[in-house]
Amino acid sequence: MTERNEFFNTIRQALGPQTEAPNLTGTGSSALGDNSDAVSARSQAIQAYIDEQSGPLMDSLSESATGAGWKVARFDDLDKAGDHIVGIVRDVEANLVVRSRQDVLESGIVEAWLASLGVDVVPMALGEHSEHTVDELRSLAERADIGITGVDYAIAETGSCVLIPSAQVSRLVSLLPPIHIAIVQRGQVLPTLDELFTIRRRDFLDGNLGSYMNLISGPSRSADIEYTLVTGVHGPGEVHMILVG
């Protein structure tokens, strides 16, 4: 018997005789008994809800994100948000900013905002759009003063932003620089964790789960020494959530 089979044999013996497939109803598990259509239906309902409730959800997010340690600012449109971001960049005297390549940032608005400040802006991306290798990009992210991203979703319950790495989104742009600025647009806010995971389940069933996801809920923190809270341990110590719309 192979090692793997021995492992499973031990478990099966421990469990005693059973049917091959468990009874999934009434288990409390929200989902495995559902079929794909049920998940789609739930996912669509969520989409409709977050569009309709986008205003109140932004309000709720503003509160929970502040409680979670984000510096939150809200603006009617991207231009006004841009002024605020310019202010942050100026205040910390940043020289180098890295940014992700989500749609909201792809039109080059960050470059436009920061043009007059003489700050380098580097989009974190590979392939035809990039002049840098992976190692160079990582090096740049490490040297950067600020990382700017959009988000895939935000969560009102927990004050979180959700980043799903892809060709447009680097894992490191929101991790290595000591300051992270996340731009959340109206319509991106989910009420709770549960809606996020229903949507992700829909993505999985569509073959679109991807390899990674981060929920970011405030600055990097630790209370390992004498229960005393410190921020900026390995991740950014200062995080800004810019709500637009």
């Binding site: 031990t10 989902a31 929920l215 390992d224 229960y227």
Partner: protein, 475 residues
């Protein structure tokens, strides 16, 4: 990790007489313990979440083979590797061999209790590979060459002064007197390690069967580093950490995080499904999931112990336990301390060797009250005590002293009838004569002397209640 469970008394004694440890343990009651209570009070329908979480755990463990095979299919489908390790040694061999094959010289580690079971750092060092703990508490504990003191806050037994001294000694840096500076020093020391490491090793808080996804709950950012910087990511976890669907994560994240630290959510929740995508900018090229048994199947097989596998490793029972709050984590002598440790450590190492652990409890039930999935720890402690005494399921671990057996037989006789109670009363009153002053006994003979070291003992009543009843009976 080598087991020192049989040194519990010594370890407990050492902790009790160490004023620094006592001072640091004090913070648990108003800290983590109260934070969990506040967080659960503020969560609507907390009890409904607990019941649902428990039901899902029960269902998953009752069908563990089915769900682990689902994990296997999905990890492979997402481009990852999976290894099922029957014990700590097999798991270590896999990781060490992988590191050697890939020419890894430096490994960065996130917090993993299972890797402590494996003594993985030690194994890596033997092969000339440098493992570096990146969680701040684990980093401190590694520098101090100690084992973790608490599941969630491994270095909570150390004051800032002690950490400063440790850094001066091991890192050759100046003496810092504030925690921000100590943290910044740790961050700077680790920065280059993150860049240079060839392999990142993490634990996993949950494994989602449906998608083959590993979920990490962290606050510091080191979990993200370990899963984003090195070329290879290895996640090691116990086989009981499976949840069926990705839609179960919301519930379990709430239960775990609010019970561990009282936060609504940790700074980071990271989900990993296989290696990075082809078009991704960064991330590991290889992903390995190591799923470890190491004795868990023994608990699975015992219907009286299976619910110990529902544990989310939140640490709430440690924070709630009045015994743990006095003796701390080292006294328990192995990876898992506190109430859940009193069950898991003996069962994963050696029950009779660890026999102090199930007995060093007043059965107060605070652990059961604190547990997010309502694990009935006192019930299992009673079961293990019965096993150690009567040896029914684990006869090879029957471990009861002649003296105690004899004493119990004596007790049994004395309660066998009202007459025997009266007789024992008489006998007791005679025996106590040399010791009684003013209705109290100041010094009891061994083995009862432990009582009178700290308390007066009452004298046996010359007229027990049953004798008095005839005077206070129907009036």
């Amino acid at each position: 990790m080598q087991s020192h469970t049989k040194d519990f008394r010594q370890g407990a004694g050492a902790a009790l007489s160490d004023p620094k440890i006592q001072a640091n343990l004090e913070g648990l009651y108003n800290g983590f313990h109260q934070a969990r209570i506040d967080a659960s009070d503020q969560t609507p329908d907390w009890e409904a979440l607990q019941d649902k979480g428990r039901a899902i755990k029960a269902h998953t463990l009752d069908n563990l083979a089915y769900y682990l095979e689902m994990v296997e299919r999905n990890v492979i489908a997402s481009g990852g590797h999976i290894y099922f390790a029957r014990d700590a040694e097999a798991a270590s061999n896999y990781v060490v061999n992988l590191a050697k094959e890939r020419g890894i010289e430096l490994v960065i580690k996130g917090k993993s209790m299972v890797s402590e079971e494996m003594a993985l750092n030690h194994r890596l060092e033997e092969e000339g590979i440098e493992p570096v703990e990146t969680d701040l508490g684990e980093y401190i504990v590694q520098l101090a060459e100690e084992t973790p003191f608490h599941i969630i806050a491994p270095a909570i037994h150390k004051s800032r002064g002690e950490v400063s001294e440790l850094f001066v000694e091991k890192l050759n840096v100046p003496m810092y007197d504030n925690i921000e500076d100590l943290t910044r020093e740790a961050r700077d020391q680790l920065r280059q390690k993150f860049v240079d490491a060839g392999m990142g090793i993490t634990g996993a808080n949950f494994i989602v069967a449906e998608t083959g996804t590993v979920t990490l709950v962290t606050n510091e950012g080191n979990g993200r580093m370990c899963t984003s910087m090195p070329k290879i990511h290895v996640a090691i976890t116990g086989m009981e950490k499976v949840v069926p669907s990705i839609e179960d994560l919301g519930l379990f994240l709430r239960l775990l995080i609010r019970s561990a630290t009282g936060q609504r959510i940790s700074s980071y929740v990271t989900t990993v499904t296989g290696p990075r995508g082809e078009d991704e900018v960064d991330g590991p090229e290889e992903f390995h999931l190591v799923i470890v048994d190491n004795g868990r199947s023994k608990m699975l097989a015992d219907p009286n112990l299976r619910e110990a596998l529902y544990c989310l490793r939140c640490g709430a029972c440690l924070n709630a336990c009045p015994v743990y709050r006095k003796v701390g984590g080292h006294a328990y002598g192995w990876v898992y301390p506190g109430p859940i440790g009193a069950i898991v450590s003996p069962m994963l190492t050696n029950l009779s060797e660890a026999k102090d652990l199930p007995y060093a409890s007043t059965l107060c039930g605070a652990c059961k009250e604190a547990c997010p999935v309502k694990i009935n720890i006192p019930r299992m402690l009673l079961y293990l005590r019965k096993e150690l005494t009567q040896g029914e399921t684990y006869p090879e671990h029957k471990s009861v002293s002649m003296a105690e057996s004899t004493a119990v037989k004596g007790w049994r006789a004395s309660v066998s009838s009202s007459f025997m109670m009266r007789l024992s009363n008489l006998g007791g009153r005679l025996l106590q004569l040399p010791f009684v002053r003013g209705g109290r006994i100041d010094r009891l003979p061994s083995p009862l002397s432990g009582w009178t070291k700290h308390r007066k003992f009452p004298a046996i009543a010359s007229k027990p209640f049953r004798t008095r009843w005839k005077n206070i009976g129907k009036k």
